[in-house]
């Protein structure tokens, strides 16, 4: 076993947040990696849902898109996209939504729409896709993003999907009854919202990471929980599973 990378710690830690009984709406990219790793390790019964309509899917390699053929071939059932958004997401059937972000703020609000002004953007990003309603309809939201000052900003250029809004009570004022972001896993640390302020604070640091490193990679005035632990180390079994998954994926997508 080679040295564990921070990216690997991030993925394994994100995966560990998921339970066997979860029904998880999976975003593409880092979330997809973490969710499938959970399924291949400690949560074999987890239900993974992709917005393409595939329910209970068990891909052998990570999909490049949210609609690769294997997602459908290995699913319990595949429904139309209107049904997916009406019966399964809006219907309140999903326990965890797993998102990533181009930008996020300390309340877990997310931007995947534009950098700069909406009408005259510096960089036009893909947009929200399923995120605006994933963020409000799922029981809770996990977020996984690589740490950087570009991503972790004091103020979003655009609020694609709400986290805790401007703080305590904001979701409730909008009639939202779900928890919102409860966990944020980066390549440096794990953060959870302070129950009082709803602001993400560091609850564990990955092995070898200092507080200063996280502060420097964060664009807002970062808080730490009263007790900050070290993020539990990935097991060999988890690392094996992750590396094999990535290897299989790389080989599969290299050719048509």
């Amino acid at each position: 076993m080679t040295t564990v990378t921070l990216n690997e710690i991030m993925t394994v830690t994100a995966a560990r947040a998921l339970k066997n009984s979860d029904v998880c709406f999976v975003g593409i990219g880092l979330p997809s990696e973490a969710c499938n790793l959970a399924r291949l390790t400690h949560a074999p019964e987890i239900t993974l849902i992709y917005e393409s309509g595939t329910i209970g899917t068990k891909p052998n390699v990570l999909p490049l898109s949210i609609g690769d053929g294997e997602l459908c071939e290995t699913a319990v059932t595949t429904v139309s996209v209107p049904e997916m958004f009406r019966y399964w997401l809006q219907g309140g059937r999903v326990t965890v939504g797993f998102l990533s972000a181009a930008q996020l703020d300390k309340f877990g609000n997310i931007n995947t729409t534009v950098i700069g002004d909406y009408h005259r953007p510096k960089t036009r990003l893909p947009g929200g896709g399923g995120a605006p309603e994933i963020a409000t309809s799922c029981g809770e939201i996990f977020i996984t993003v690589k740490h950087s000052r570009r991503a972790f900003v004091e103020k979003l250029d655009f609020v694609t999907s709400i986290g805790h809004g401007d703080g305590p009570g904001h979701r409730q004022r909008l009639g939202i009854t779900t928890k919102g972001p409860t966990r944020l896993v980066t390549d440096l640390c794990v953060m959870q919202p302070d129950p009082e302020t709803c602001e993400f604070q560091v609850t564990s640091l990955h092995a070898g990471i200092t507080r200063q490193q996280v502060i420097e990679a964060t664009g807002w005035d970062l808080k730490f929980a009263s007790e900050v632990s070290e993020t539990p180390t990935p097991s060999n079994a988890e690392l094996d599973a992750l590396r094999q998954l990535k290897q299989r994926t790389q080989e599969a997508h290299a050719t048509a």
Binding site: G67, G69, R124, L125
Partner: protein
């Protein structure tokens, strides 16, 4: 009533300059061949609609066919941004592109409402999302029983829906299966529908009674184009050409490279080219 015809005739007979066109497909069954034919025929001023505009919309936009785009996720999934789309938005190249941006939930509901003949879709959405501030087609409605405030968006009713399906039977009914997206809704909500298919069979033998079948009287034109979804895929026929989607990032990054690629592979090509693409699959 569905008429079988060649792809060029199918597009010529149904897609007009200025039309509201929905070429749908959610990663799967994306009608690339039909989109290329629209480009070859030089259609202009189109309002393009799709939940997930990807490579093929990048091509339509980059070739200047579109006046407006209605969408909810404009990326090359798993690869990155959609670079011709970006160039149109950020630099108005090759022409300005008006946008109407929604969430997936909104568009899925709007297609559903379009198929259902309703003027608008009602759903629980956009709460705390800033799109509601920049898109005037996002409104609200109050439940008369609970007083809950719900989101409303206009139904999507295209002039033409263009989709790719697995197969037609001789009567002209079309079956699609796998990831079915919003294709049925796009077709049933549209004034006209064009469908490309992998093949024609005598009849659909042994399919589920609940298989997704569009009866012939809901379709205007059917063109047989094997491989017509490539580099997207057709469940049961060929796989998604993920390597090609990755390569699109390179091709589309540079205006000249893009133009050269389109010239060679689309403008100087023909509907028959997709037989080759198709054979390159699974």
């Amino acid at each position: 009533m569905a008429q079988f015809m060649a792809l060029d005739a199918a597009i010529a007979n149904t897609v007009r300059d200025g039309d509201f066109v929905a070429l749908e497909g959610f990663t799967h069954l994306i009608p690339h061949a039909a989109a290329h034919e629209i480009i070859r025929q030089g259609r202009q001023e189109l309002t393009l609609c799709r939940m997930t505009p990807d490579m093929v919309y990048d091509q339509l936009i980059g070739m200047g066919c579109a006046r407006k785009l209605i969408f909810s996720y404009a990326g090359n999934p798993g690869v990155g941004l959609l670079l011709r789309f970006r160039d149109a938005i950020e630099n108005q190249w090759p022409r300005p592109l008006e946008i109407e941006e929604h969430s997936h939930a909104a568009m899925a509901n709007a297609y559903e409402a379009g198929a259902a003949g309703l003027p608008c879709a009602v759903f629980r959405g956009y709460r705390g999302a800033e799109l509601a501030d920049v898109n005037t087609n996002i409104k609200s409605i109050t439940c008369p029983f609970t007083g809950e405030n719900l989101a409303a968006v206009p139904a999507i009713n295209a002039d033409v829906a263009v989709i790719h399906g697995q197969r037609a039977n001789k009567a002209g009914d079309v079956m699609i299966e796998g990831i079915i997206g919003v294709q049925k809704e796009a077709v049933l909500g549209a004034k006209r529908a064009v469908i490309t298919v992998e093949e024609i069979v005598d009849e659909f033998a042994d399919i589920s009674p609940n298989a997704v079948v569009l009866p012939n009287w809901t379709i205007d034109a059917i063109a047989v184009v094997p491989g017509g979804a490539h580099p997207s895929y057709a469940h049961g026929y060929y796989s998604r050409d993920n390597a090609f989607y990755k390569d699109w990032d390179r091709i589309s990054r540079d205006r000249q490279l893009f133009i050269a690629w389109m010239d060679e592979h689309v403008l100087k090509s023909s509907p028959q080219a997709f037989r080759v693409h198709g054979a390159g699959g699974k």
